[in-house]
């Protein structure tokens, strides 16, 4: 078990396009401390550099700049096998010509472990994962979930200092994914080994991670617990990326009548919550982006309510997701489906924002103005 530290890691890929050399920066001066025993999730859209970061930690890529430490050891130049890590691949990367037992024992054999020890470890791992019955089968004869378990088992038998997961659940169907997610979580709680997990699925990230790192264009957007990420998005990107359906955004001006007010495009003014008043001083008469999650809007008429017109609605069971427009800006809210029967396209509804949950972003830098100290 060990900590993993990335110190200003940069990775530049050189490719050729029409015989022209093109440099692509996949990871840009990344600084990251991963604590011992932590389950850290690297989250971001595809192409954000999360997989490259994981591969740098694994030793499958050598960083262009910067250093990688695992357990206080500088392993930047070490080959993968000397880093004490185990990796679970997106396509599982099971050796198709070996049976399950051989797949799981391959690494230990390479490390010249005694036979009895290999047997003990493989059987233990298999018991944990409930795949003892499958030893003689080849990967071709396994279901997706079973393959996933074998891939996990192969990592477990190594008893590594760090587990690396590269989108391991993305090839499973939705139901299996939920089940495996729970099992992974349980596994981590039992093994308590540092784990780094790459995914583009925010639900996986939220449910699995002790902390989540949100990456975009090779740089860290935010590091935090799931709650922090959800409730205190550090910038527009994070706010937009996390949450389904995403946060609603409205472009507003800030003006002072009797009190500090947000001015909507359609002229409607609502009061700025007290917590934000100080921070917004600098934005007087400037445009800001107001963000609020759908669940923080209630359909009540009041002094601070904004009128919206419904464009369509989606029935989701208990709730109905209502799409609306304020001026030209679109948004969504949830509504209890029983209450929503009378609401159809074209109806006018009042939106009342929970003042504590309003986020304000600087449209130029994207920063969450409320978090600036």
């Amino acid at each position: 078990m060990a900590e993993v530290v990335l110190d200003k890691v940069t990775k530049v890929f050189t490719t050729f396009k029409k015989r022209e050399k093109v440099n692509v920066t996949a990871v840009n001066h990344l600084k990251l401390d991963i604590r011992d025993g932590e389950f850290l999730v690297l989250l971001g859209p595809s192409g954000c550099g999360k997989t490259t970061t994981l591969r740098i930690i694994a030793g499958l890529e050598i960083p262009t700049e910067g250093k990688v430490y695992i357990g206080n050891r500088d392993v930047t130049k070490y080959p993968a096998k000397e880093r004490g890590i185990a990796m679970v691949f997106q396509d599982y990367a099971l050796y198709p010509h070996m049976n399950v037992y051989e797949n799981m024992s391959f690494g230990l054999k390479n490390l010249k472990f005694p036979k009895e020890e290999i047997k003990r470890r493989v059987e233990t791992a298999a018991r944990i994962l409930d795949i003892e019955e499958l030893f003689d089968r080849k990967p071709k004869g396994l279901s997706g979930g079973q393959r996933q378990r074998v891939a996990l088992g192969r990592a477990i038998v190594r008893q590594p200092q760090v587990y690396l997961f590269d989108e391991p659940l993305s090839n499973l169907d939705a139901r299996l994914r939920i089940q495996m997610r729970a099992e992974l979580k349980e596994l981590h709680m039992n093994l308590k080994t540092t784990s780094i997990y790459v995914t583009h699925d925010q639900i996986e990230a939220m449910t699995l991670g002790n902390r989540i790192v949100i990456l975009e264009l090779g740089t860290i957007q935010q590091i935090g617990t799931p709650e922090e990420i959800y409730n205190k998005p550090s910038n527009l990107f994070v706010a937009n990326f996390i949450g389904t359906p995403p946060m609603n955004f409205f472009t507003c001006g800030v003006s002072r009548d009797d009190d500090l007010k947000f001015v909507f495009e359609n002229g409607k003014k609502i009061s700025v919550p007290n917590t934000l008043k100080n921070k917004l001083q600098d934005f007087m008469n400037k445009r800001i982006t107001l963000g609020i999650r759908p669940e923080n809007i209630s359909l009540e008429k009041g002094k601070n309510s904004v009128e919206a017109s419904v464009t369509s609605s989606e029935f989701l069971g208990i709730n109905v997701l209502i799409h609306f427009k304020v001026g030209e800006e679109r948004g969504t809210i949830y509504m209890n489906s029983e209450k929503a029967t009378s609401i159809g396209a074209g109806s006018k509804i009042p939106l009342l924002f929970d003042p504590d949950k309003i986020h304000v972003f600087d449209p130029e830098t994207g920063k969450n103005i409320g978090l600036i100290k």
Partner: protein
Amino acid sequence: MFKLIKRNYVYNEWFWAYVFLAVDLAWSTLFLFYPMIKGVIYSFQDIQLQNISNPHFIGFKNYINVLTDPDWWHSVKISALYTLGVVPMGIIIPLTISLLLAHFRRSIRDFFKAAFYLPGVVSAVVMAMTLKWIFDPMAGFMNWLFSLLGLPTQLWYSGTSEALFTLILMNWLSSHGFNILLYSAALDRIPKSLYEAAEIDAASSWRRFWKITWPLLKPTTLYVLITSVIGSFQAFGGAFFITHGGPMKATEFLNYRIYVTFYQFGQYGIAAAMSVLLMLMVIAVSLLNFKIMGSEVEY
């Protein structure tokens, strides 16, 4: 009848499937199966140039004739030696080249693949003539090179003990293009993540080759093995274009012997029996290959 067909079949894909299959079947019946069956019939007949108008069945006499002929067994030996010389290299060389090529970027790889394949596109005669010149014992490139390096010049295909090896050498030098394409394609098909997994599993590059690459290339290797065994058992070009089976029958391959028996001795029945025996041999060797290699192959 027409109406029936029109209503039910003209737009029925099964009907058209049979029509197209029928064309193919007629074609192969006419040009493949008929000559093959005819050949087998000839092998049981006394038929030769001198009594072509009067063939008659003589049972297994042709086969007995062939199997008791020491020259036939000499040719079997020559063909077997040639196969032993050619086939392992026919796997090692293309595999090595493909493995080396895998490290280059695509455009370079494609260039080399095309370059290696080019000799296969050139007509066999041109190829044979070029190789003949390279190994010419009197004015050839190889002997020029040897004398430049201060080595004794060789007789190459003109020497009784060197001729077979020279033909094997020519094969090593010239006929790997297609197998390189096969191996390159097969290597491309192996997921990169398997190597990464193996790297993390602490497998040395040697073990990565033997435990990942080699087993996953087995279907390709089996294919290459069988086609090259068949090909080298039926070797003919070198003997026909370069050595004429000589000197002193040093390169008289089975196929060349069949050719000589048929066209030069005019003994059609015996040549047909030889062909059938060669076919049986090739089938037997292929089955053996399947048995040895095929058991572990994942298709």
